[in-house]
Each structure stands twice: as structure tokens, then as C-alpha cells.
């Protein structure tokens, strides 16, 4: 299978200071790859680099090959056509990502109209289809609803409907389910998984939640202070972590580990001080 995204020796510099050291990986159609690490490890920088949304003064080296094009050299105007259409994104905060004074149906149709994904007479039925697909119709949410009337999980579904509106080849999900409770989280993840298979969409998920990653991803990349310290198949990574930092991350998580309650959790500060390569 040809990769839908192929990253080669990508590094990011902020005013000549490296914040992401050369990293290479691929994402295949229908596959979910997770990126994890502590805050400050470079997870979000990587996501932003892929979307061409790095702040001014940041420089990238290496290549990001997506659908035969190198995104690092793509002019902004061409990138704008890709973003939201071929590469879609969903974020953690559904309330800030949605326009509070616009009906959700309108916000979804905006995406379709902007990218000319479907002829204008088909937009309304297409919006209905999307609402149906993400399970909002079943929950009795109409296209006329405003974001404030929806629960957190429902808002995330709206974002997901917008993201898949143009049938993207790659979905970047940055801490997408972090703000949801565990039951809603599980529902959302199942939905994303189904959609990935259905649309042969590659998913790059950024998450610090190892429980979510174990359930969702086929492969995991572990970042520590801008270095890729380990990457492996999910099950192997969880069963036999090779890098001390991965082991430390795993032992810090309260999920699936047996820390005696009411005792301090071992925080491997010594591990996060320096990167062992």
C-alpha cells in the first residue's frame, strides 16, 4: 500500500533553536498513527508543521510528502486548498472551534461550498447525510441547532462532520477526545475508526492519553523533548517498551498500572531531564 503521508527527516527550528529533531514516518490509508509524549515534547509542533500552521519565525527542514507534493515547499495559496479538504483537522476545544452565532448546518455547508466539493444544489442533502453519519440525526440534533445547545460530545461530532465533509485523505486529530468523559470518548473513537476504514483515510492522532492510544492506534511514535525516541506497533510498544522514557510514560499513567492508591506516583524527572538516544 502506498503511504498517504510520508515524512522524511522533518525538523523544525524556532529562531535557529531546534524544537523538533529530524523525524521520519509514514501514515498509510486507513491507518491510525499516534504521537505521544509529555507537554513540551513537540507533539503539537509536529501537527502544526504538517498543516503548515507554524507561527512566524519557525523554519522547517526535510520533506513532508502528501499526494505526491512536498508540503514544505508548497506556497500558502496551494496549501489553503489542501487544508480542510484533503488534510482535515479536529481539535480539543469544540466550543472555540465552532462559531457560536452560526447554525451548525451552515458551518458544515461553508466547508463544502469553500472547497466546491459538491454542486450547490446538493449541499443541503449532503449536510443531512453528514449529520446522519456522525450520529447527530439519531440524537435528534438538527442542522438548525446552534453550538451552545449541544453537549461537548455532540460538538465534537459537528467538528468531525466538517472534517470529513470533503472526504480527506488525512485526518489530524490533536487531543481530540481529551475533554470528553470516558464513555463519550469511547463512542467518538469508534466513530473515527469506522470513518478511517470507510474513507480509507489516514489518521494522525496526537494524544497524551495512553489508554486512548492503545485502543485506537496501530502504531505509536513517542516524542521526548523534540526527539523521536521510540516508534513501534501499538501492542509491542505497550508490551515491551524499549526506551526508558517510554517505560517511564507507561508507568506514570494510572490506567492499567497498579500503583498503590494514596501514594506518590513515581515521576521520572531524571528521565525527562536529558534525552537518552
Amino acid at each position: 500500500m502506498t503511504a498517504c503521508l510520508s515524512v522524511r527527516d522533518l525538523s523544525v527550528l524556532a529562531s535557529a533553536k531546534p524544537i523538533l529533531h529530524p523525524i521520519s514516518f509514514t501514515v498509510s490509508p486507513g491507518e491510525t498513527v499516534a504521537v505521544t509524549g509529555e507537554s513540551g515534547s513537540g507533539k503539537s509542533t509536529l501537527a502544526r508543521a504538517l498543516m503548515g500552521l507554524l507561527p512566524n519565525g519557525f523554519k522547517t527542514c526535510g520533506q513532508i510528502i502528501f499526494e505526491g507534493k512536498d508540503l514544505t515547499t508548497l506556497p500558502e495559496s496551494a496549501f489553503r486548498d489542501l487544508r480542510g479538504c484533503r488534510i482535515a483537522m479536529v481539535f480539543q476545544e469544540p466550543m472555540t472551534a465552532l462559531n457560536p452565532i452560526r447554525r451548525i448546518g451552515k458551518q458544515i455547508s461553508d466547508t463544502l461550498r469553500l472547497h466546491g466539493a459538491v454542486p450547490s444544489r446538493d449541499i443541503a442533502p449532503h449536510v443531512q447525510q453528514l449529520l446522519d453519519r456522525v450520529g447527530l440525526r439519531r440524537a435528534g440534533v438538527s442542522a438548525q441547532a446552534y453550538p451552545h445547545a449541544l453537549s461537548g460530545g455532540q460538538r465534537q461530532r459537528v467538528l468531525l462532520a466538517m472534517a470529513i465533509a470533503c472526504k480527506p485523505a488525512l485526518l489530524i486529530a490533536d487531543e481530540f477526545t481529551t475533554a470528553l468523559d470516558s464513555r463519550t470518548q469511547a463512542e467518538m473513537m469508534d466513530l473515527v475508526k469506522e470513518l478511517a476504514v470507510e474513507h480509507e483515510m489516514g489518521v494522525l492522532m496526537i494524544s497524551h492519553d495512553l489508554g486512548v492510544i492503545r485502543r485506537q492506534a496501530q502504531r505509536v511514535l513517542v516524542l521526548q523533548q523534540g526527539y523521536l525516541v521510540e516508534s513501534n506497533e501499538t501492542e509491542q510498544l505497550f508490551d515491551a517498551p524499549r526506551h526508558p522514557y517510554t517505560r517511564a510514560l507507561l508507568s506514570m499513567s494510572l490506567h492499567g498500572t497498579s500503583h498503590p492508591p494514596l501514594t506518590r506516583i513515581p515521576v521520572p524527572t531524571d528521565v525527562s531531564k536529558g534525552v537518552q538516544r
Binding site: S39, T178, R183, Q185, L210, V212, L262, R264
Partner: protein, 257 residues
């Protein structure tokens, strides 16, 4: 063990969506909820979204009034208490919220933020300043943090600022509503360790509200399971988690990853 903070038969409801002001239908949020926390104890309240967790924590801290039932602090009914007594009690019950970004005013310095709960207390300026620095030291933030703004801190540090603000009045109970849910695992571990240390050091009681069973299991002595506004199960943490009696508890355990 005697109760430090106690809720008795709390009920709360909101007008149903779409109903008119006249003859409005009510939607029950909390129904006959009773619970208590003893000194130096942590009570975990767990439930899925919409179960009434946040409403309950706001009632416990006095941010909203229950429709029925009462809140007792050291046996004193807060509703019967006169203004002065309430004013004296209020500093003893503090709250920490989920989103430190939203809970901290971006235009205030950390000093102003942490000092704010002291405004209602009759303390000298020197004493207030001393308390602020003491609270910052308690959460292991450097002294020079006081003159900086929230945006200059990471998520975990911001949550520590919020904890310092809760500590500054020297409370006996802290209600924490999803206090570590927005933090990544390593930061979560640091903040949980800090809360455990503070409990030992100051003899604090916590009411720890969360949807995250793993966190609740780690930090609580006892748990209460909230489902559709009712407490369906309560008991020592490990016995509830290992031998759940109610379907809602089992559901939460199954959904927990």
C-alpha cells in the same frame, strides 16, 4: 469519624429546555443526595457526563443554592447561619476547577489572582502578602512567579496557581471539579502528588469530582457514584471498584480505558 462537610438530602432542578416561564416543566439534576467528608479524608465523586457532578460540587461550595436539603459545615447549617458566620466559614471551603486557562484572569498577575480570596478576610496587607508567598511555595512555584501572568505558565503550572489560590485562605475542605482531567499524564502525576502532599502537610479534606476512575481510585479513601442525579453506590474506594454493586458503576468501569 465526624463529618467536616456534609450534604443532606440535596435536590436541584432546572427548567426544561423549551418550556415557558409560566408553568415551566422541571428537569431534575440532583435528587436526594446525601454525602459527607471527614477530616483528612478524600471523598471521590464519580459519574458520567450529565450525572450532576458539577452541579453538586457547586452546591457544596455554596456557588449555587440547593432547592431542597442542607449543607452542614462542622455541624453548622450554612443556610441558617447569619451573614457573619457564613463569611467566616466561606474561606474554609475552596474550589479548584478543570480548566486553569479559563479559571485564571489573563490580565491579573499571579499575585493578584492568588490574593483575591483574601479580600473578604480581615488581614493586614503584610499578612496577605506573606500568605500569597506561602501558598506559592506550597505548590512549588518560584517566588518570582508572583509578578508574572498566567499565559507565561504551562498547563500544569497554571493548575498549581489555581491550587495556590485555593490554599491561600487556609481551607479545611477543597472541592476539586475535574482538577486533573485536562492535564497530560506526567503533569497529572505531578499535580496528584502535590495534592497528596498538601493533604498530609495541612490535614486537608478533598471532595474530588471526576469522570476518570483511575484518578479517583488513586486519590480517594471513599467514593460515591453519581448516576442521573442520584447516588447509587458509596463505600471504600477499593471495595466499590473491585466489587461494584450497581450497573452504573460497572458501566463506568467498563468504559474506563
Amino acid at each position: 469519624m465526624s463529618a467536616l462537610l456534609e450534604a443532606k438530602n440535596i435536590a436541584y432542578s432546572v427548567p426544561e429546555r423549551g418550556s415557558s416561564v409560566f408553568g415551566s416543566r422541571k428537569k431534575t439534576v440532583l435528587q436526594d443526595v446525601s454525602l459527607h467528608v471527614a477530616e483528612r479524608e478524600t471523598l471521590g465523586i464519580v459519574g458520567s457526563s450529565g450525572s450532576g457532578k458539577s452541579t453538586l460540587s457547586r452546591i457544596l461550595t455554596g456557588l449555587i443554592r440547593p432547592e431542597k436539603g442542607k449543607i452542614l459545615f462542622q455541624g453548622q447549617d450554612l443556610r441558617d447561619a447569619n451573614r457573619q458566620v457564613r463569611k467566616d466559614i466561606r474561606p474554609s471551603i475552596q474550589m479548584i476547577f478543570q480548566d486553569p486557562q479559563g479559571a485564571l484572569d489573563p490580565r491579573q498577575t499571579v499575585r493578584q489572582i492568588v490574593k483575591e480570596p483574601l479580600h473578604q478576610m480581615a488581614l493586614s496587607n503584610d499578612e496577605k502578602e506573606r500568605r500569597v508567598l506561602e501558598a506559592l511555595a506550597d505548590v512549588a512555584l518560584p517566588q518570582d512567579a508572583a509578578d508574572r501572568y498566567p499565559r507565561m505558565f504551562s498547563g500544569g503550572q497554571r493548575q498549581r496557581i489555581a491550587i495556590a489560590r485555593a490554599l491561600v485562605t487556609r481551607p479545611s475542605v477543597i472541592v476539586a471539579d475535574e482538577a486533573v482531567s485536562a492535564l497530560d499524564v506526567s503533569t497529572q502525576a505531578v499535580v496528584l502528588n502535590l495534592l497528596l502532599d498538601l493533604q498530609k502537610r495541612h490535614g486537608l479534606s478533598y471532595i474530588f469530582v471526576s469522570h476518570d476512575l483511575a484518578v479517583i481510585r488513586h486519590i480517594s479513601h471513599r467514593v460515591a457514584v453519581l448516576d442521573e442525579g442520584k447516588i447509587v453506590e458509596t463505600g471504600p474506594t477499593l471495595s466499590v471498584m473491585d466489587h461494584p454493586q450497581h450497573a452504573a458503576t460497572q458501566d463506568l468501569i467498563d468504559a474506563s480505558l
